[in-house]
């Protein structure tokens, strides 16, 4: 133990004497560690960002979609969903609304189409539902108003538009109010522009939609079907029971494989899983640079051993064992690598700190631990061969070495 502390101290003093060499050698580790740490920090940030987005979409929501989503969140490949699957209709909405602890059921129809205001036309998504959609998704009008239940009942030819599409079409969001907009040749009056919600990252981009009553949207939807249903439960509802009730009711009309009831958390875990895998792949690629850094350390350690053959001989003559020499050079390699790791970590911290204004990247203790452990391990792995060479030198040849 005493020996390691002493070796560490003399290693640090050595680094002080060879500042440039130390810096250049640990540069490889520095770059490797910072790329790994930054990727992990951005991955964590992305995950947090998506979670926040989902949280802002509203809580206590169950989504019913065609096709089967398996436990753990992955879609079954080649399942009925990919063959077109089923579509829901207003009977399903009415049936599900009867379940206790269900506040309301939103039918969802959406379609990508072209909208125009005379000269200017844009691609946009129609999002048709009932008046409760604004409550369910936490959407509020910034200008004008949202549509109501009576608008839905009247099949009113009105739309509420997201702020992004409003800006694209009218430059200023407020100037959209009262204007007419043509959707597939039909005229609709814009009665409101929503407050910006952000998103479009992993989840739907709620700011780009045209919201209209589902009754009105039937003109684009001759089959009068819905691509999804959203069930809003009361607070503190027994979600498991409700899921079971929904299943039972839908099974009367559809096969078990034809629909899925998804809780937001499940969707989140599915997306989280995809991002974790992507992140793991990226981190693994970045880890290659750590190996390159390790080779750099090995190279310089071989040089150091050759430079210090005489010193090794002296130490052996006055009683150092092979193990003592091994420990000394291993300590140096690990110190060198750890130095690179700590520098890389510091630089990553600064970058993350700078980026946090725009993106919620963050470094957790796990990342710090991994960075430190990995750089120590690299020092050990790439230091062992040069150190072994030093230890195996014959005392007599080394002390004679000039």
């Amino acid at each position: 133990m005493n020996g390691i502390i002493f070796a560490l101290r003399s290693a640090v003093e050595d680094f002080g004497r060879n500042k440039l060499r130390t810096l250049l050698t640990s540069l490889g580790i520095l770059i490797g560690v910072s790329s790994v740490v930054l990727l992990m920090a951005f991955g964590l940030g992305l995950k947090k960002y998506i979670e926040n987005q989902f949280a802002s979409l509203g809580t206590n929501l169950l989504r019913i979609v065609p096709g089967k989503i398996l436990e753990g969140g992955s879609f079954r490949a080649g399942g009925p969903a990919s063959l077109g699957g089923i579509k829901f209709d207003i009977k399903d909405v009415q049936s599900l609304e009867k379940i206790s602890q269900v506040e309301y059921v939103l039918p969802v129809f959406s379609k990508s189409t072209t909208v125009d205001i005379g000269k200017r036309s844009e691609l946009a998504d129609i999002y048709a539902s009932s008046a409760d959609i604004f409550k369910g998704l936490n959407l509020k009008a910034a200008y004008g108003q949202i549509f109501t239940k009576s608008d839905v009942d009247k099949h009113a030819k009105i739309v509420v538009i997201g702020p992004k599409i409003a800006k694209k079409l009218f430059m200023y969001e407020d100037s959209a109010i009262g204007k007419n907009i043509k959707v597939e040749g039909q005229n609709f009056r814009i009665i409101g522009v929503l407050k910006a919600k952000g998103g479009g990252f992993g989840g739907p981009d709620l700011d780009s939609f045209l919201y209209m009553p589902y009754t009105t949207a039937m003109v684009f939807n001759p089959e009068k079907t819905f691509i999804a249903l959203v069930v809003k439960t009361t607070d503190n509802a027994n979600v498991a029971q409700i899921k079971k009730d929904i299943n039972n009711r839908l099974l009367r009309r559809y096969n078990e494989d034809n629909f899925s009831v998804i809780q937001q958390e499940e969707l989140l875990s599915a997306i989280g899983q995809i991002f974790s895998i992507m992140n793991l792949v990226l981190v693994s690629i970045a880890a290659i640079s750590l190996v390159v850094g390790g080779v750099g350390i090995m190279n310089i350690m071989y040089v150091t051993v050759t430079e210090r053959i005489k010193e090794i001989g002296i130490r052996r003559a006055i009683g150092a064992t092979k193990q003592d020499i091994l420990t000394q050079f291993m300590t140096e390699a690990v110190a060198l690598s750890l130095f690179g790791g700590i520098m890389g970590l510091t630089i990553s911290f600064l970058i993350v700190l700078g980026v946090q204004r725009f993106f919620p990247a963050y470094i957790d203790t796990m990342t710090i631990t991994i960075a430190l452990v990995v750089s120590s391990v690299i020092g050990i792995v790439f230091g062992v061969l040069p150190a072994k060479r030093a230890a195996d030198l014959s005392p007599i040849d080394s002390i004679r070495y000039e």
Binding site: R17, R316, I318, G319, T321, K322, D324, I399
Partner: protein, 222 residues
């Protein structure tokens, strides 16, 4: 204390022929002796010293230290024995330049592998004081004179309280006045502390300062 029986040491040369540095050397060194091993360069005196100092093993013959045959000792056991039994003094001083004088003197204690009956730092300072270089404790070897470096090396050799001091041309890199001082120091260690001292040299005047002389030529004692 040290006994060599028919010790030979062969080296393979670059041309693959065998060169015998020592040929059937037998000698006994008793505790408390002060001996010089004298011979011209290439006579095998350094090889002899390395074998006595446990840095090298003979090709043939036996070396026993206090009755123990070293042929059966592992590398670790030899290192341990070196650390406890021998103190080296070299012609080139062989101090580690990046360590301070004090650290150089303390270094053997680091490798002692046993509880020492003294505190390393105070013992090192005591030795430096005794050799009149205590004020250089924090200096580095290349900042002090040759005589001071050799004193440091002797202090280092004494650090672990060895039984034997092996000095290889200890005055070879020093002017004659300083050389004499170093010789006086080494012989006084023998007289005052009854340490066994072996001095390897090619210089007959140096050798004349020891009680016993062993002459070596072409790998044989003469």
């Amino acid at each position: 204390m040290i006994h060599l029986a028919n010790v030979s040491k062969d080296y393979l040369t670059d041309t693959d022929s065998v060169f015998s540095a020592l040929k059937e050397v037998s000698l006994t060194i008793k505790r408390g002796e002060c001996i010089s091993i004298v011979g011209p360069s290439g006579s095998g005196k350094s090889t002899l010293m390395h074998i006595i100092g446990l840095l090298d093993k003979p090709t043939k013959g036996t070396v026993s230290i206090e009755g123990k045959n070293i042929a059966h000792l592992s590398d670790d056991e030899l290192s341990k024995l070196r650390s406890q039994f021998v103190g080296f003094v070299f012609q080139q001083f062989n101090l580690i330049n990046k360590l301070t004088i004090l650290e150089n003197v303390m270094l053997p204690a680091l490798y002692a592998r046993k509880a020492l009956p003294f505190e390393a730092k105070s013992r090192a300072m005591e030795l430096l004081t005794r050799f009149g270089i205590a004020d250089k404790a924090k200096s580095y070897p290349n900042k002090i004179s040759g005589g001071q470096q050799q004193r440091t090396a002797i202090a280092r050799a004494l650090m672990n309280n060895p039984k034997l001091i092996l000095a290889d041309e200890p005055t070879g890199n020093l002017d004659s006045k300083t050389g004499k001082e170093i010789m006086r120091l080494l012989t006084s260690l023998n007289k005052k502390e009854s340490l066994t001292v072996i001095i390897v040299t090619h210089d007959p005047t140096i050798a004349s300062r020891t009680k016993k002389k062993i002459h070596i030529r072409d790998g044989k004692l003469v």
